[in-house]
Each structure stands twice: as structure tokens, then as C-alpha cells.
Subunit: 993 residues, 2 copies
């Protein structure tokens, strides 16, 4: 009789067995939930007040970074003592003591001690040697363990190297200790044979700072090289190694890596290795099948730890923010049902795989016991795993019953362990979790032992592409490089485009393709010997012809229905999306943009089309004004006239597309003057404009020298509008020239102008340095710092300098440089020889008052500049004031947060800025005082997303327009208000009396 057919009896058995265990555990509460202790009380409040939970966890998160009484006091005040919060009087007065006054030092010490105590429930010891004693104690309780090293995020090769060393040391330490531990068949003998007494869980993300799904093969290869010696070492010392499974983005790399090492000749017959299956993954059943097949192929079994998964918030947010299909189930019942299904699958295949059931949920555990029982397997054919500090009554009862229970025991400092603590607290307090339900909510044991039911996903994450204008705007998904097919298509596109180079780029007027005798070649920044584009150069007479056409067609285009123009944008979006690989890889060649950045540029272009299409209808279309009987007032917007688009090369598709589509949808005819360094991509875009249906006399394509035809256009009386993105110098000169109204001009010229930036990131003394370092590296060196939004200044508050600078320099040292066509490239070349020379000369002759902390070696072929870190003392230093547009970062120290804000605001630019802080009051100050167009709190300062972070600055950075945001289109349009007096002969349709 199958399990399914016997369902009812089995559930009765699970209920009976579960209730027995529950009875036996009665009176024994997990220590965290014990209300005799303050943690138990705090936990109660947390579970009763969602906002207090958020603040309390955030306070716990930042606490280890607070090193003084005033620091703790202000955070207590900001997080826990919010004036509108209801707190028990005793708690408020206790906390108030900590927030200032004479008792503060004592009170804050008490708080720190208490939180530390809480952390100690989950983190077994701060160092491995002390941990050995804990493992011994566990063994005395008939419990075994797996040791985990808590860690900071790894951001450099040297940090990764330190982790490898830590694992090697731990192997030796535990092996040595284990020799002295007595044999215990309950712990050290499984159904398939003896087990090592020592057991370590390894996180592969700690071993490589540049793990990247896009660079899948590179990542697997590098990790394999690092892991093989470690695994051989473990085998030699008879230590079991389990690979932990982290975020979904590492999943495929981890699985491929595992496959590679377990099949390696040195390890293929070694059973003491394991991997994890996360049942919340939609891929989990495939994952199991794959592992079963692997075991068969290998011939030697290995262990699979079955968990539910601990990165749920992160996975959902990450998938949403990138538009990826969500990798996890968002229905708790589905995850639980999947868990049980996989439990049985593993148990059925216990000869191929040793199942380790890791859960604190009594139903999940008992289900596994019954499943094994149903197969008449001995108790030691499965292993039960639980986390250190959790569900203590269960683990003891199960051990007493003769099951092997392994405790997952983290070792490490409080500081790096806080993220772990927060995850544990979340798990304990989760609304749908077993622990909360049983120990806090008092849900009946029988209902908690009921079989889980799979259900609909509660949160719809994966966005299907919008099909018409009535759908709300959604960002297009980024390429999901975790998918092999995506990597394959990208690689294929790279080679097929590579074969077609150089591209011939013509002038196009009225759809008429003109190949001029005057041509200009553009070389790939990756490799100057590779010509990417041969571009015809428009003459003044070409420009005049285009202008004449644009003037002539303008009225008809202006008067086309708005929805028609918006639909063309929608069609263009589809065209760009269909060709996204082609459009991205061309950027790798033409402007030296790495994979992910090139993809993001294409995605932004698509987003602009869809966003402006919808905004056009919303903002430009008719809106009733006032509410008055006897009259009807309608405000709408119309095109202004011929508009010239002067586009930059650094976002060669996105910005060009954004400015062009905004001008077009608003009803203007357009002349595109593409950047000289990115004409090939511009022409690809232009062709798709026509294919999408934009009339050929409405938009013209005029590559050529900016100082010649750009100026001619800007000064021409027939031009009504200029949209420009580029340097401050050119921008200001365009504004000045357009200010002059010439006789015969139809409109006062409007200029939409985005200029430079000198963007600062402030790192507060309580910042999360893992996050800050990762993001700053990306904001400063992504696309070689060639973004107007790039981070080029870091302001370090107080003593954080000492913690941050070494890690920053280490990270720079190991930053992978190379051709942008390579997936592993983190720092590509700068755009051309001029830029290269300019930056080299800066490095050769840095301004006085500065110190170079680091400047690496750059590859000699291609226009490479190594990442460079300067430090200055004075904020007036040129390195702190001028835009360099390259991988050049200047740091400065600030006495306090206010000084940091003043320094940040001290330039003429006001584009982007970032703040890393966990101090609510400092975050509030930044919101108020950090005067930039786009401020990011605890996030990098590049990568504004259309519709979410309307982009643009003021000061000398721009005139206050917000690309990809509300109001942008209005800058391209004239408003008209049409009023009709609806009363005739004393009769109005307003009333029906």
C-alpha cells in the first residue's frame, strides 16, 4: 500500500506520536520563550507590535557597531522610545535611563549585556577553542553538532583567504579534539556506517568575493580550486563537511561546484560530505532528483540536509526588485508540504542519500519519523538537525528516544553574528512559525500537527510584461544570469555581433540613408585594434534638410492622438526587449560596458518607453480643472516643435532612448545627435524607432561632430527644444546659447539638461560596513566610474575610517579588471584614449594635499585605469571638488555626521549621494540636509530605476528635471487650457431639476 493510499492512518499515527512528544515536553519551554526571563517578555511585546518588532530587530542589528554610551543612548532613544509608541511603563523607564542622564552608562551597559546574552543563546562561542567545550557538553546530552563559522561578507581576495585558513584550522582543531571524545553509537553510527565525530558546515560565499551568476563558470572554477585542498584536508582528518546553501543567486553555482568536487577522483568514494535542499525553493524537487542521480552516478552516498529556507524576505525582495521570477514559494503551506514530500523522497532513497531532517516544526519532524517507520527503517537511518539555542525541549526528547540529533552551532564574534541573530529572532517570531504558534499563541497541538496544505502563492512576484497601455507600469526584468540559457544567449550574441564588426553607421534624413565621404572610426575601449563603428558625418546641409523636414511634419505629429504616440512607445519597448541581447552586447564592444551594466542600460531604455507611454496619457492628456457649473475647463499638453537630442555615450541606449521618447511622445519632431563614441548603438536604436512605427520624417539621425552640428542646431531658430545629457561645460553653453531668442523663432527654447556630479557617500560610524563596502565598490567602479551618478567621494565619520579603509583597499586590490566582454569583468576600460590620457595624467600628478592609498596595475592593452583611492584632508581639494569620470575615489575623514553632511554639500554639483547609517536621527538629518537630486540611504548611489527613483539633480548638475519620474514630460510640452461656456440661452446641462 502506497503512502498516499494510507494517508489517513499515517496522519493518525503522526498525530498520536506528535501528541506523545508534546506531552513529554510539557513544562519545558524553549529558553527564549520563557517569560521568567526578560527575553521572553521582550519577545511577547515584539510579537504583539509589528512596528516595535521592526525597530527592535534594527536596534539589535546595529548594536554591535555602537562603541560608546552616547551612541547606544541615541539609538535607544530613536529606535525604542519613539514618542508614539505604547510601552509598558517599566520598560519605558528602564529604556529611558539608557537614553541619557546619569544612569546612562550603567543602563546602556546593561542593554548591551542583555543583547549579548540573547545572542549567546544562538552563537555557541566566540572562538573555536571555546566551542570545543560546548560540543563536549552537547555530547554529554547525547547530542552531536555541526560547526559553522560566522562571517562578514567577503569583499576581497585576502578576506576570502582568511576564511579558507579558518576552515583549515577548524578541521585540525576539531579532529584533534574528537580523538579524545568517547564513542557513542547514537551519535557516531548511522545506518550506513560510522560517522566522523567532527562535522563542519561551510559557506561558499565566504571563499570568493566575486561570486556571480553571470560569471557562473568562472565562479565554479575558482571555488573548486579553493575547496579541493580544504576537502582533502577534511578527509585526511576524518571531518565531515557540509556545504551550506545560501541565497538563490548562489544556488546553481553551489550545486555545480558540489557535483564537481564529489566526482573528483580524490573524493569520489568519500561519503562524509553533504549538501542542502531548501524546500521553499520551487526548484527543490528538481534539486533532489538531481542529487539522487548524482549519487547513483558517483556510486558513493552523501548526505542531504533538508531545510525549509531562511532567506525568504531577501529572495522575495530581490526577485521583485529585479523582476526575476520568484524562486521561493510565498505560501507557507506549500513550503511545508514540499518539505514533507521531499522528506519521503529522501527516505525512500536512503541508500543513495543520507537524509538529515533540519526543522523545529514538530509536525515536520514527526512526519519524517513516521515516514521512516513506514519504510521500517532503523532510527539511525535518518538524522535530525536543529539550531543551537532553539527548540531545546524537542531535541532532548528526540535524543532520549534514540534519534541522532545534530545541533547546528555557529562560532564567532557578536559583530558578524548579528545578522544571524536577527534571522533567528525572525524565525522565532514569525507569524506562521511553529514556535510562535505553540509557545506564544497557544494554538492547539492537534491543529499544529495537521498535514500542511499547499496553496496559492500569497505574493505575486514575477511580473508578466505589460501588454497594453492600460496596464500599470512595471519595470522590465533584468536578465537572470542564474539561468544557463540566459548566459548562453548572451555569449552567443557576443560572438555573432563580434563577427559583424565594424558596423557602418549612416546619416538618416526622412528615412533616407546617407553614407558620407567623411567618416569617423570608433575603436573598442577593450581593444583599440578593434574598430566597432565607421560613422558617416552629417554636414550642415544635411542638418538643414533634416530640420526642414522636422519643421514641416511637426504640426501633424503634434496633432496625432496622444494614445497613438504612446502606443508607438509601447511597441518600441517590445522591439527593444526582443533584441535585448544584441543591444547589450554591442555596448560591451562599443563603450566597454560589462555584462550586467550593459543589460541594465537596455532594461532602462525599455522602462523609459513604458513609463513615458503611461505618464504621457496621465500627464499630457486632458484633465478637468475646477468644478464649476456652466463651464467645462480642460487642461492638456502638446508638443512644442522640433527638438534636438544631444545624447551621451555612457548610457548609450538608455539616456538616448529616454530623451528621444519623451520628446516624441509629447508631440515633438526630433533630430538625434548621437554621441560620437556610441553611434553604433544609437543607430541600432534609431532603426528600431522606425520599425516600431515612428514616421521617418518625424525623427532624423544626425551623427557628426558636436562642436559643429550640435552648436548649429542649438542656435537654430527652428529648434524649439534641446534635450542634453553630458558635461557641465557643454550643458551651460547650450543653456546660454538657447537663451537668445532669434527673430522668427516660434518658441522660447526650452533646455532639458543633465550635467555632471561629484557624488559623495557618507559612512556613519554605526554603518553596516559589509553593505557599505559592497555598494560603494559598485557605485565607484561600476562602468569604471563613468556615470554622472558615480560615487567619487567617501566621507568617513569618526572612527569608522580604521575599520573601513583597510577593507576598501583590499577590495580594490582584488577587483577583477578586464575586457567588458568577459563575464567576470568588474572593472572595464574607460571610453577612449583621451579619457585614458586625462586620467593617467591625474594619477601622475595628483593635486597637492592628497595621498594615494592605492592605485593598482591596469592591463596594458585597452584603455584601462586601475581603481585608485586618494585621501584628502581638506574638502576644498580639487580631488574632492572636480568631476573626473573614471575609477577614482577620494576619501576624507569627518569629525562627526554634521561635518560629513557639510562636506558632502560643499561642491557645486547636487546630483546623487549616499548615506550608510543605522542612526535614525542621522538618517533624518541626511534626508533634510544632504542636498542632492537623488539621495540613497543604505543603498549605493548609482542605478536609479525608472518609476522608482526619478533621476536628476540641481545646482550645476542640472535644472531639476527628473528622468523616469513625474513631470519630466511636461518639460517637452506646452499646456493648453480649453474652456467652454456650457450655458446657452440660460440652459446648462449641469442640472437635472
Amino acid at each position: 500500500m502506497t503512502w498516499e493510499a494510507n494517508q489517513k492512518n499515517i496522519n493518525t499515527r503522526i498525530l498520536t506520536l506528535g501528541e506523545q512528544y508534546w506531552q513529554r515536553m510539557q513544562g519545558d519551554v524553549p529558553s527564549l520563550f520563557d517569560r521568567q526571563y526578560w527575553q521572553g517578555q521582550i519577545l511577547d511585546w515584539i510579537m504583539d507590535d509589528e512596528s516595535f518588532k521592526v525597530d527592535a530587530f534594527r536596534f539589535v542589528d546595529v548594536l554591535p557597531a555602537l562603541h560608546s554610551t552616547p551612541a547606544i543612548a541615541s539609538h535607544v532613544q530613536d529606535y525604542l522610545l519613539k514618542s508614539d509608541r505604547k510601552l509598558p511603563v517599566l520598560v519605558r523607564s528602564a529604556l529611558s535611563m539608557a537614553s541619557g542622564g546619569i544612569a546612562a552608562p550603567i543602563a546602556t551597559r546593561a542593554i548591551r549585556a542583555n543583547v549579548t546574552e540573547m545572542a549567546r543563546r544562538f552563537i555557541c562561542q566566540s572562538d573555536s577553542k571555546k566551542a570545543v567545550a560546548v560540543f563536549k557538553k552537547l555530547a554529554d546530552q547525547n547530542l552531536t553538532f555541526t560547526a559553522d563559522i560566522l562571517g562578514e561578507a567577503t569583499s576581497s581576495d585576502s578576506e576570502a583567504e582568511r576564511y579558507v585558513q579558518k576552515y583549515l584550522n577548524l578541521i585540525e582543531l576539531l579532529a584533534t579534539a574528537a580523538e579524545k571524545w568517547p564513542d557513542n553509537p547514537l551519535l557516531h553510527l548511522s545506518a550506513s556506517g560510522p560517522l566522523p565525530k567532527a562535522n563542519i558546515s561551510v559557506k561558499i560565499s565566504a571563499l570568493d568575493p566575486y561570486l556571480d551568476a553571470a560569471d557562473h563558470n568562472g565562479s565554479v572554477a575558482r571555488l573548486k580550486e579553493k575547496l579541493l585542498p580544504l576537502l582533502r584536508h577534511a578527509r585526511t582528518h576524518n571531518v565531515f563537511i557540509n556545504f551550506d546553501l545560501e541565497q538563490w543567486s548562489c544556488h546553481n553555482i553551489t550545486y555545480d561546484l558540489f557535483e564537481a568536487v564529489v566526482l573528483h577522483q580524490d573524493l569520489v568514494d568519500w561519503p562524509h560530505i553533504g549538501l542542502v535542499v531548501q524546500s521553499y525553493l520551487k526548484s527543490s524537487e528538481n534539486d533532489c532528483s538531481r542529487l539522487l542521480a548524482l549519487s547513483k552516478r558517483r556510486g558513493t552516498p552523501f548526505t542531504v540536509r533538508l531545510v525549509k529556507g531562511a532567506y525568504w524576505d531577501y529572495e522575495v525582495v530581490h526577485a521583485r526588485q529585479n523582476g526575476f521570477s520568484c524562486p521561493v514559494y510565498t505560501n507557507k503551506g506549500t513550503t511545508d508540504a514540499s518539505y514533507e514530500h521531499l522528506t519521503r523522497l529522501l527516505i525512500e532513497n536512503h541508500e543513495l542519500i543520507s537524509p538529515a531532517i533540519a526543522s523545529h516544526n514538530l509536525r515536520s519532524i514527526v512526519h519524517a519519523l513516521v515516514a521512516a517507520e513506514y519504510k521500517s527503517l532503523p532510527k539511525n537511518s535518518i538524522e535530525l538537525q536543529m539550531l543551537y539555542g532553539m527548540a531545546e525541549p524537542q531535541r532532548l526528547t528526540l535524543a532520549k528516544d534514540g534519534y541522532r540529533v545534530r545541533v547546528y552551532a555557529p562560532i564567532g564574534e557578536l559583530l558578524p553574528g548579528m545578522a544571524y541573530l536577527v534571522r533567528r529572532l525572525l524565525e522565532n517570531t514569525s507569524n506562521s512559525g511553529f514556535l510562535r504558534q505553540s509557545y506564544h499563541e497557544g494554538v492547539s497541538i492537534s491543529s499544529m500537527l495537521a498535514p500542511p496544505a499547499a496553496g496559492q502563492d500569497l505574493i505575486n512576484v514575477s511580473a508578466s510584461p505589460p501588454t497594453d497601455l492600460t496596464s500599470p507600469f512595471t519595470n522590465v526584468s533584468l536578465l537572470d544570469f542564474t539561468l544557463q540559457e540566459v548566459r548562453y544567449r548572451f555569449t552567443q550574441a557576443l560572438s555573432s555581433t563580434g563577427e559583424k564588426l565594424p558596423f557602418e553607421v549612416p546619416v538618416v534624413i526622412d528615412g533616407k540613408t546617407i553614407h558620407t565621404t567623411k567618416q569617423k572610426n570608433h575603436a573598442s575601449p577593450n581593444d583599440p585594434s578593434l574598430v566597432v563603428a565607421q560613422t558617416s558625418q552629417a554636414s550642415i546641409s544635411d542638418v538643414n534638410e533634416a530640420l526642414e523636414s522636422a519643421v514641416k511634419i511637426f504640426p501633424a505629429w503634434r496633432d496625432t492622438p496622444l494614445t497613438y504616440r504612446a502606443e508607438l512607445l509601447e511597441k518600441l519597448a517590445h522591439r527593444l526587449e526582443a533584441d535585448r541581447f544584441e543591444l547589450a552586447v554591442l555596448q560591451c564592444y562599443e563603450v566597454g560596458k560589462p555584462w550586467r551594466e550593459a543589460d541594465a542600460d537596455v532594461a532602462e531604455a525599455i522602462d523609459f518607453c513604458r513609463y513615458y507611454a503611461r505618464q504621457a496619457i496621465k500627464e499630457l492628456g486632458p484633465v478637468k480643472q475646477g468644478d464649476m457649473a456652466g463651464e467645462e475647463n480642460i487642461l492638456h499638453y502638446e508638443g512644442r516643435g522640433p527638438c534636438v537630442i544631444i545624447a551621451p555615450w555612457n548610457f548609450p541606449l538608455a539616456i538616448l532612448c529616454g530623451m528621444t521618447t519623451a520628446a516624441l511622445v509629447a508631440g515633438n519632431s526630433v533630430l538625434i545627435k548621437p554621441a560620437t563614441a556610441s553611434t553604433a548603438i544609437a543607430y541600432q536604436f534609431y532603426q528600431r524607432l522606425l520599425e516600431a512605427g515612428f514616421p521617418q520624417n518625424v525623427v532624423h539621425f544626425l551623427p557628426g561632430p558636436g562642436d559643429e552640428i550640435g552648436n548649429f542646431l542649438v542656435e537654430h531658430p527652428d529648434i524649439c527644444q534641446i534635450a542634453f545629457t553630458g558635461s557641465k561645460e557643454v550643458g551651460l553653453s547650450i543653456i546660454e546659447k538657447s537663451g537668445k531668442t532669434i527673430a522668427g523663432q516660434a518658441q522660447v527654447k526650452q533646455v532639458v539638461c543633465e550635467m555632471g556630479g561629484k557624488n559623495a557617500v557618507i559612512i556613519d560610524d554605526d554603518a553596516d560596513l559589509d553593505a557599505a563596502l559592497k555598494d560603494v565598490m559598485h557605485s565607484a567602479f561600476g562602468y569604471a566610474g563613468q556615470k554622472c551618478s558615480a560615487c567619487s567621494r567617501i566621507i568617513l565619520v569618526g572612527e569608522i575610517y580604521h575599520a573601513f579603509l583597510p577593507r576598501l583597499l583590499d577590495a580594490c586590490k582584488s577587483l577583477p579588471m578586464g575586457m567588458a566582454t568577459e563575464p567576470g569583468c568588474r572593472l572595464g576600460p574607460v571610453i577612449d584614449q583621451t579619457a585614458h590620457k586625462r586620467l593617467e595624467s591625474l594619477l601622475a600628478n595628483p593635486p597637492d594635499g592628497s595621498k594615494i592609498h592605492f592605485s593598482g596595475e591596469a592591463p596594458s592593452s585597452g584603455f584601462f585605469i586601475a581603481p585608485t583611492v586618494f585621501e584628502v584632508i581638506e574638502p576644498t581639494n580639487a580631488l574632492f571638488q572636480q568631476e573626473f569620470f573614471g575609477p577614482i575615489l577620494t576619501i576624507i575623514r569627518a569629525r562627526d555626521f554634521q561635518t560629513a553632511l557639510d562636506m558632502a554639500n560643499s561642491t557645486e554639483f547636487a546630483l546623487t549621494g549616499g548615506v550608510y547609517s543605522r542612526s535614525p536621527r542621522n538618517m533624518a538629518s541626511a534626508r533634510q540636509q544632504f542636498k542632492v537630486g537623488n539621495l540613497y540611504i543604505n543603498r549605493g548611489c548609482t542605478g536609479a530605476i525608472v518609476g522608482r527613483q526619478p533621476f536628476g539633480g540641481f545646482g550645476m548638475s542640472g535644472i531639476g528635471t527628473k528622468a523616469g519620474g513625474p513631470g519630466y514630460l511636461l518639460h517637452f510640452a506646452n499646456p493648453r487650457c480649453i474652456t467652454e461656456n456650457t450655458m446657452r440661452s440660460g440652459f446648462t446641462p449641469d442640472f437635472h431639476m
Copy 2:
């Protein structure tokens, strides 16, 4: 026993008597409702389909103006055959015939004939002689009459004169005819004695083109002079004269006029005169009491016709649009109850007043009969009145019963009669009307005879002033000059301000009042010998001092809470409203603005404050962007820096206030450079700014020479923003100067710039000329044409020229000119000697290719220019292209509507425009093609209202900003987007799983 105490019995009596009448009338349907005729059928559809009703009435309204088959055909198509309209197949096919094709001439003739037939039901004859025969026929049916002359609106003295002549002729004609009519005691003998056989109803609005509540005394005096001879003539010829009562705006004038004439020695003992009480007026009970008192005082009774009132739509809309307290009840039951109450009041006082009960409502009529019966009065103590063509069964039955029934019989052409026809159709089809309910809806007679119940007003019209920012924006009420108290306060304010002149106007920096030695005097345009302002002149060093202060305070002001700044605007609005009389009368003196225009300017200023206060919170305040888990994106707007306001003199308070408050509420510090010709008003405004609480270092007051300090400010690097309203030349030069960015400048300068206009009104060949003429006179000559929105071109389509031009010239001839301080002034002086000279020289040397149709005599004291009408042939003529800013109107003929649109669009300006047309397709073309910032259909092209008609143009008229509209404030602000990554340590508050 009182009426009230006997209520139940009386109602039973009314029900019984009413049912008897109803029985006796059965089988007899008012002809209009007879479904045997097509009118009956059309009426059915109209009552079943509200949108068809609107279109059908509009078609009827325009029909008399259509003189050709194609014209009728296109209107049939546009109004009646809308594609989405459900029409009976037969109707659609009949109408389709008329809309084009071979049968169109016959079909359109048929339509015209049918509508004419319908009109003939209500208009007894086209001329008085023919009408006499109709009156004879009525007499044969035992019905008597009052004759009414249908008329166009009177727009000139000569038209008014023609009406007087028509009445005189009618008196003689009817008197002569009456001699031959046999005596009929039923018709010619009332309880108080014999009645004239002839009876005429007079509309006083026909007798004076410049009736104006503001000029109450002038209006009454002029009318009295015109009416006395007419009334003497009537008395001599024994013809009864009844004063009709029209819109509420003429009510008080009519009553005062009536009082004046009936007490005149020549008429005091003449009983054959009457007036109307409209029971829908909230004042109706007072009106009755006043008339009773008047009769007592006079000693000779007169007649009062009690009606319900026929201008309901108009009164409600007019009150709403001006913010007046609504003069009429908006609950039908209240009007009916008031009618019955007044019926009894009149009957009780039948010895003082002869009651004429004018109604078609059987309940109202029977109630009157019973009320008279209750007082045991003879039947001829009251008179019943009904309109020609309506309620025929009732009038016959009542006459048969021995009541005197008088038929109100309009005489006149179809064309001027159409408004009358539409009113009758409305009355017949009104949802709550007796006729519709009884003959269309089939409501039971007993329920229609039930006593009316007064109830709540259904439509809330009078707006109470907003008390805080959370209330929605409403326009402040204009001054209601129908109220004596308002006229009194205005006059008082004029004299008290007059006594204070000249005003000393200082420079004010940081609240420090500076009287400079350099002073400039400004004379009143009404009277150059009167100095209105003696103004200190700011020096460059004063300006520098103010700038320094504005730069210094800016960051603090920018960072004040938005709501705080918005509340200051709200306070300012209260201050301005409290002082509205003072602020208006000063404009009469300083800039020569007539009463109503001066009041409108103050009201607009108040509106700007309240509108921008609310818009600031809505548009500048934080708005969430996107909807993404794990991040929070907030967009808001902040001030840009010191802003200079360069204000014009023509809206000396409104525009200054609008620009200043916009800049301030957006968080900018402000330097006011007032117009030289209106410093006194500007200073009044500035003082109220400080009184309202704006800090004295945030806003500075710098009167002085524009070419000196204006330019200095515009070019100064510390100025971030310029708001300017004025001439094209100055505007363009400001734009050019601000385009130049100087080293050290914090922001690229933004310019908000409103420049000139050359605004056209197109008068289509089917236009309502009464409305067009009235509005065009106001748009062209209101404030002497000194508005950027003023109408300075009229484009006459097709043959309308011949009908329109003579009326226009007549209207110009009689336009009352004079000092703006006089309430009767319709055309005041131009601003100063320079303007006066410039315009005089234009009149002396008009451009070639033009013809002066009319240029009147201007008063010699003061800077007066008479209204002038040019005609040109070519639209390229300077008179048709250049802005003159004076009471100069240029007309041109256009072959067709499209040519008219092209001519309208042929200037460099694009500010306002107007179209008078009743052709849906031409109105649609104008909406699409008439390219101006503010287009008005069937409304004058001046007088945009804050919040309802966002104001501003493009081309050389402006840069597309909309004062008093959405988005205006954004031009004064920088956007900032603040993004917080809300995920920390893998935990985000977005989900509660």
C-alpha cells in the same frame, strides 16, 4: 379660524376642486404633449434621454442662425445624429436625409418648418399688427392677454432707443385696436374696477445697455428717464404696463425703479401698472412686504404678478461662478411652498395689491382659487396668468368657470425668440414640473395636488470661506454689488483712500524702511493732477544689501516645513480679504482700474494665495514613487534660492501676489521689484505679507528703475530664479541674460515668464451674437484693453460680418468712458502719458491697408483713449500682428472657419483666444487647431479664474507655465528623491509572514 389651523379641510377642498378640474380637462392634452404630432413624439424622446435633450435644445437654439442647407445639414449631423446615440430607426433615417445627400434641401426645409411651427406655439406672431388678430381670437375664447416684445440683448444706446420706440408704437397700436374690442366683464372688470383692454409687459433690460448693479443709482436714474415718457404715454392711451422681472442682478434696480415711477406725481394715482414677484427668490417674502408697504404709502393699488421664476439654471450658475450667495431656492418644494405662502399673502392684501397668479401648476392655481374662496372674495379679485402655447386645457376650463385668465403673449421674430422657446421647452420637460409629470410621466393627480413641502436646498451654492488648509480650494466670492452695503463700503473706501493720497512708498530691506532722497511720483491716470504715489528708489547698494540677506536666510527658509509656509499663504489670503475694499479702490486711483475689475484683481490675489497653499502641499510635498518591497522612494520639492519678482502694473496686486506667493511657498527667498506705475498697491501687498507672518529677511521690497536694478538683479549670480510678467521685449532679454551662468552661481537660473498677446476672437457664422458682442466688448475694452489676455482681433466668418459689425460699432459709440473711480465707468484711462501718446500716434497714423470704422471722442482730462475699431484685409497687417495694449480692436473677414483659425494662429503670440460658434464640428476644430494657451469657447477671452482656467501661453507669449494651475509651483522648486533601502540583515518590514 386661521388658514393654518384649517389646513386639513382646505387641502381636502383643494384636492376635490383640483380633481374636478382635472376630470373636466380629461381628453384634452396641451398641444405640445399631443403624441399625434411629431412635437409630442420628440418631446417624449427628449424626456427619456437627457443627452438628447441637451443636444436638441442646442440645435433649436442655433437653428435660426442657419441660413443654408449645408449649414443646417452639418448641425443636424453634429447635434442629432451622434454615432453613439440610440434613435428610433425612422427618426434617424429622417434626420439622416437632412444631414446630406440629394434630399437634404427638402429635409432641412422640413426641419426648419417644423421647428418654426414649434416656436409658433409659444410666440404668438412675428409682428404686432398680426398679433392684434391673435388677441382678438383669445378674447373670443374669453381669454385676455399681455403683450411682450421679444428682443435681442441690448448692447448699445441706439438698440435701447429702438426698443423704447417699439413700446411706444405698441401702446398706440393696441390702444387703437382695443377701441374696437367689445366690452367683456369677465376680462375687463376686476373686483377693484375696470381694467384696460390692452396690456403690455416691459423688460427694463431692453431699455439700457449698461444696467449694472455696481452702478445702481446711475442705472435707476437712466431707466427712470426713459420709462417716464413711456408710462405717461400708456396712461394717456389706457394701456396697462407690467414690469417683467428678469435676472437677480436686475432685481434691486427694477424694484427701486418701480418704486420711483409709481410714486412719481404723474403716475402716483394710476392703478394700471404692475410688477413681478418671483417665488423662487429667497427674497420673495421681503419683496412682497416691500410692495405692500409701497402700495400703502402710495395710496393707489397696483398689480403684482406672482411667478415661480424662469432663470433658475442661470441664477445658480451665475452665483456659483462668482461665489455669490445663491438668490434662488434650489429645492422645488420650497419654491412651491413659497409660492403658496405668497399667494395667500397677496390675497389677504387684495385691497392694496391686485394679485395675478401666473402658473401652469394645477395645485398652485387651485390653491389660489381656494385661498380666495376662503376669504370669500369674488372670482375677479384675482387674475390667472399663463403663457401663450402652454396648458391650454387649463386656461379654457378656468375661463369657463368665470376666472379672468390672461395669456402672456410674446411677439417677435424667431431669431430673437429662440432663447424664449428653449426656456419654454425646458419648463415643459423639467423633471419636477407639473406638465411633464402629469402628461408624460402619468403621475397620479392626487399626488400632484398634494401640498408642497419646503425642504433643504439641493445644491449648496454659497461657499463659506475655507478656514484651513485641509479644506478644498474655492475661489473667493467677487463683491456682490447687488447689495447696497457693498456699494456703500466701496464708495466709503474710495473717499477715505482719496483723502490719504499721495501714498509714500519706501524701499524695505530686512523689514527696515528706507526713504531715499531719489523719489518718483506717479499720477492717477484718471486725473494727472492727482499724485497717487511718491516712491523711494532703491539704489544698487540697497539691492546688494537685500540680496545678501536673501542669500543668508535662504537655507533656513527652504528648510521650514512646507505646511508652515502654506499656512502663511492662508493667513495672507485672510488679510487681503479683510482689506479687499482698500486694496481695490487704490487700484481705481493708481492704475485707473474700474470697480469690478479692481475687485476681480483683489479676488484673484486672494485665490492665488489659497490655491498655491493647497497646491504646495499636493505638488511639493512628499509623494511615494513606485511600489517596491525592500525600498521606500519619496519625491518632494524644495526651494531653489533667492528669487526676484518683476511684476507688471496691469494686475498690480494679483500677478504680483501670484508670483511672490508661488516663490515663497516653494521655499525661496524673494526680492520684489514692483512695477513703477503701481508701487503703492505693491507696498500695500508687501506690508500684508509681513503682517501675515513672512519673515522680514525672507522677502524684500525694492521699488526703483527697472532698467537699472531689474537688470542688475537678473544678471546677479546670487539670483536663482526670476519670475516676470510684462512685455515680450523685456521678457526675452531676461531669458537671454539668465541663460548665462556665472562662476559661483549656485543654480542655473530659471525664468518664469509671461509676455504679451495678440488675442483673437473668432465669430462663426452661426454664433450667438448677443453673447459674442457682450463678451467681446468686455474682453476688448475692459481695463482699456490693457491685459495681455485682451481681445485685440475679431475674425468674422462668412456673412456674420454684416450682422455683427453694425452692432459692434453701435456698442462702441455708447460705451461709457470716465474715471475708473466712477461705478458707471466701462472704459477708463490708459496707464500713463507714454501709453497715451503711443496710442494716439497709432490712431493718427494707422498702418496702410487698414480702415478705421470707429474711433470716438475721449475725455480730454486724464489719459483716455476712445474705443477704436479698425478693419484690415490682410492678416499680415501690423494692426493684426502687433500688441498695442489699449482699447484698439482690429477686425478681419474670413472666408470660412478654417481660414479664420489660420488667421488667428498667424501671430507670434499664443496666449488667449475665443470662439463663438454653435457648430460642434467647428468647436472641435478650434479645440484642436486654435493654438493658444487659453482658449475660450462661447466665452470672452479675458478673466481666467484661478484653479479653473490655469493661465499662460506659449510662442512669444510665454514659456508654457500656467499661473493658477497645476505644475506652476514646480517651476520654483528643485525635486529631490530620497530612497531608503529598508531591508537590513535580510529583514524587511514589508511582509508579515
